[in-house]
């Protein structure tokens, strides 16, 4: 996501952009929401306010380099682009200064700032009576588990019950998320689902369905269900494959193409060439050998350990795989790397690329390694996104900020648009 955000922002300002991607990116595994900051010392109500405090408290955190005002600007920018994007009138709702609490597939309230309109009605701060509805035969989505947990976790305010309806699919297909979503792409399917819902839901109840309401026209499917049942409808994110994540990825991919950016898949960045301070060429491994792309700027958005942007070997050495940047925040050899409890903070969890306020990577002595390389996304040191619920927020805002920094620098130099290469493994 960080690479696509940077690429789109640069391309829409006229820069010649190449986004080189190794694989399709992890957005389609994610729920499709933009979580800026869910937890700091406790549950966060206003992410922007909390990010401001976090930046003072923890100057090594990526948000301290990005700045709260840039996080808010990035969120506004993304909302506007999605609203005018290829799935319009499907849009995102919410704002950076406020967290909603949306139900997860386990029935746990999850703090999110920007969410698809099709999820917003699930905000547990206002929902009271909820019918969690599953499709018979769909795996990994358990309405009774969700309903019980929601009732338990949300105290007296929420009364949730569970229901199962038959899926709108022919029986030769497993009713998985994608198959269901593609069924709902077809005209008439949403109405058929509504007809199954109408007799079993109560007036005024919120209908919570798995997030499968169409890949192509989610607004239409969602609106049809609301109109024909007379009830508010929300989607609950599922386990992968995630339909709202796929929608977001497709939206960004299309926006990049529309802005004139080049997306190159199946190309792994293996290094750069240039002088001591500047990179002139990005080398990529493709079929049949190596190619290189000339550039004025490089945004490294290859992700963390999970996406291969960082690699830890059995000798405790961690390396950044594309450019060989210095990895900061690694525990000393012999010191504990992991905590014994899975969900605790892990000493190795904050390792990554340290950057300055201009997102330039720093070497082991804290000096800028390159002047025209910027780092964005999960490769950044100093955060634990899975504990903070900050992954998409850091990805989006660092990518956006990297683009703004490049555009700013180029405005000072000359009127020519920047030529940039954005390396993205998994967003």
């Amino acid at each position: 996501m960080s690479g696509l955000a940077a690429g789109i922002r640069l391309a829409e300002e006229g820069a010649a952009v190449v986004v080189s991607a190794n694989g399709a990116g992890s957005l389609q595994l994610a729920p499709g929401t933009i979580d800026l900051l869910g937890y700091a010392s406790g549950l966060v109500a206003d992410p922007i306010h909390e990010i401001t405090m976090l930046a003072e408290r923890d100057p090594g955190h990526p948000y301290a380099q990005i700045g709260a005002e840039n996080v808010a600007a990035a969120a506004r920018w993304l909302s506007a682009r999605i609203a005018d994007g290829p799935l319009s009138p499907y849009r995102y709702v919410g704002k950076a200064e406020e967290n909603m609490l949306l139900p997860t597939a386990l029935g746990v309230p999850r703090p999110s700032s920007l969410v698809p309109e099709t999820m917003a009605a699930g905000d547990l701060r206002s929902a009271s009576r909820i019918a969690v509805v599953g499709f018979r035969g769909m795996k990994d989505f358990h309405p009774s588990l969700i309903a019980d947990n929601l009732t338990r976790a949300s105290g007296d305010g929420v009364a949730a019950r569970s229901l199962q309806i038959d899926p709108p699919t022919d029986l030769s297909r497993e009713p998985g998320t994608l198959n269901l979503a593609r069924m709902l792409d077809r005209p008439g399917t949403a109405a058929a689902v509504a007809a199954r819902l109408a007799p079993v839901v109560h007036e005024g109840e919120l209908i919570a369905l798995p997030a499968v309401l169409s890949t192509a026209d989610p607004h239409g499917a969602w609106e049809t269900l609301q109109r024909l049942t007379g009830c508010p409808v929300c989607e609950i994110p599922t386990l992968p494959p995630s339909v709202p994540g796929l929608r977001l990825f497709n939206t960004l991919r299309t926006l990049l193409a529309q802005a004139g950016g080049r997306l190159i898949t199946g190309a792994r960045v293996v290094g750069v060439r240039g002088g001591p301070e500047h990179v002139d060429l990005v080398r990529v491994q493709v079929s049949g050998g190596e190619r290189s792309y000339g550039c004025r700027w490089v945004v490294l958005a290859t992700g963390g350990v999970a996406s291969g942007g960082l690699e830890l070997d059995s000798n405790w050495q961690m390396r950044e795989t594309a450019l060989g940047l210095h990895v900061a925040g690694l525990p000393e050899p012999g010191a504990p790397r992991f905590s014994s409890r899975y969900l605790d903070a892990h000493p190795i969890g904050r390792a990554g690329i340290a950057v300055d306020r201009d997102l330039r990577p720093l070497d082991q002595d804290g000096r800028r390694r390159w002047e025209n390389v910027l780092v964005a996304g999960a490769a950044l040191a100093g955060a634990e996104p899975w504990r903070e619920k900050s992954g998409e927020g850091i990805a989006l805002s660092s990518g956006y900020r990297a683009a703004e920094l490049i555009l700013e620098a180029d405005r000072h130099v000359a009127g020519t648009p920047a030529a940039s290469t954005v390396a993205e493994t998994v967003a």
């Binding site: 994608l178 796929l246 998994v426």
Partner: protein, 427 residues
């Protein structure tokens, strides 16, 4: 054991490909993208047939018939964020299955375009009339298993080779490139070959056209690995002398060039073939080559306006190159040309897959989203880089389908015609 000892050939790369299955984290991205499993339950999807089933094939045995329904489009490998060689694992598994269970006569015939071309060319009027003849196609379907409606191209009745033998290209001082034209150009679309040569010559190159044969890709995708190896080695042998003399190889078929660049080495286990490796590193797709020239400021841009609205489809195999969509950049240089980029991924044909009786319906269903997009875009013409995809699109959409280079040829003022292929059957 030495890897260079021919008596103890050890397929190191093959082990790496198989070993890559351990990187699979079951993220399901390949399942989201697989065009085949999305339309038929006969193929359970790349993750299931690939990394998951492969664990049960440890002793080399075949455990699963469904892998035969993989079309080999390679999209799964392209989108995998963990670097699992899913399509390659599947191709090898299919070959083992064919080895154990036998190969149908049909697959031995339709996978040899060179043999078919040699037989069909002198008999073109008769051969084409037969392929156009409905009762004969029905008989051929019964006897051979080639679907009666499948798109088969018309023999040109002359070969590109015979033209090449008479053609003198460039001057002694011109920079030389080698043209790998492929069987499609040689037997079915010789005019495309002439246009490619003209475009290269227009840019100051002298084009060498050494005698050459089939790359073996159709054999490989039907699991006939030994035959495929023989063909690709022979081809590498005919191209190698020019490479040793310093020339680059420019190819007009993106699937055949991908075979040379990567697939033969990875899928057929020919990583130790020095001649193939030499050739592999010097192959460029024609559009890739021309965009590289443009990036170096060497491409002639004396384009005349082409007032036409076209739809562009980048074939799966083209995407396997890891070079983005260079055709789009070339189109951007042609004044007046309006290009609608299709983002549906696959036309379904996958070389010879869609010709097969039991797979024809699947191939058409795979291509349907693309055909729909093309119909919606209502272009005058479709551009696409692979010949079998062009034939499939032409048959399904009824629109002329051309190689991007044909539009460049016209824009350079080298000829007025934009000749499509002639597809027989199913009209």
């Amino acid at each position: 054991m030495s890897t260079t000892d021919p008596d103890h050939h050890h397929d190191v790369l093959g082990d790496l490909i198989r070993g890559s299955l351990d990187h699979c984290v079951k993220c399901t991205i390949c399942e989201q993208y697989c065009p085949v499993s999305n339309v038929t339950p006969l193929f359970p999807g790349p993750k299931y047939a690939g990394p998951q089933s492969e664990r049960f094939r440890a002793g080399g045995e075949s455990v699963d018939q469904s892998v035969d329904y993989c079309s080999g489009c390679g999209i799964c490998t392209q989108v995998c964020p963990q670097g699992v060689h899913i399509a390659e694992i599947n191709a090898r598994a299919r070959a083992r299955m064919k080895e154990a269970q036998g190969v149908p006569l049909r697959d031995r015939i339709i996978t040899r375009p060179e043999v078919l071309g040699r037989l069909g060319t002198p008999l073109a009027p008769l051969a084409n009339a037969s392929l156009r003849n409905r009762p004969l196609r029905v008989v051929a379907e019964r006897l051979l298993g080639v679907h009666r409606d499948a798109p088969v191209p018309a023999f040109a009745g002359r070969t590109f080779r015979s033209w090449a033998n008479r053609h003198l290209s460039g001057t002694p001082t011109s920079e030389r490139v080698v043209f790998f034209y492929g069987c499609g150009t040689n037997y079915y679309e010789p005019r495309l070959g002439e246009m490619t040569v003209a475009v290269l010559e227009h840019n100051g190159f002298a084009v060498d056209m050494p005698a050459q044969g089939c790359c073996g890709l159709p054999l490989q995708s039907s699991g006939l690995f030994d035959d495929a190896r023989r063909y690709v080695r022979r081809l590498a042998h005919s191209l190698a002398p020019s490479v040793r003399a310093g020339a680059q190889i420019v190819a007009v078929s993106t699937s055949c060039s991908l075979m040379l660049k990567r697939e033969a080495i990875e899928i057929l286990g020919l990583s130790d073939d020095a001649e193939l490796r030499l050739v592999s590193g010097r192959v460029r797709d024609i559009c890739e080559f021309l965009v590289d020239l443009h990036d170096e400021g060497r491409l002639r841009t004396d384009f005349q306006p082409v007032d036409q609205r076209i739809a562009y489809h980048a074939p799966c195999q083209q995407q396997g190159h890891g070079i983005g969509k260079p055709a789009l950049e070339l189109f951007g240089l042609i004044p007046g040309l309006q290009v609608a980029e299709m983002d549906a991924r696959c036309c379904g044909i996958a070389g010879t897959y869609g010709l097969k009786r039991e797979k024809y319906e699947i191939a058409m269903a795979v291509g349907e989203p693309l055909f729909r997009q093309i119909r919606d875009a209502a272009p005058g013409l479709v551009a696409c880089d692979s010949e079998t995809c062009r034939w499939q699109i032409e048959k399904a959409s009824g629109l002329r389908s051309v190689h991007p280079v044909q539009l460049l040829h016209r824009a350079y003022g080298l000829g007025e015609e934009v000749e499509g292929s002639t597809v027989l059957g199913g009209w």
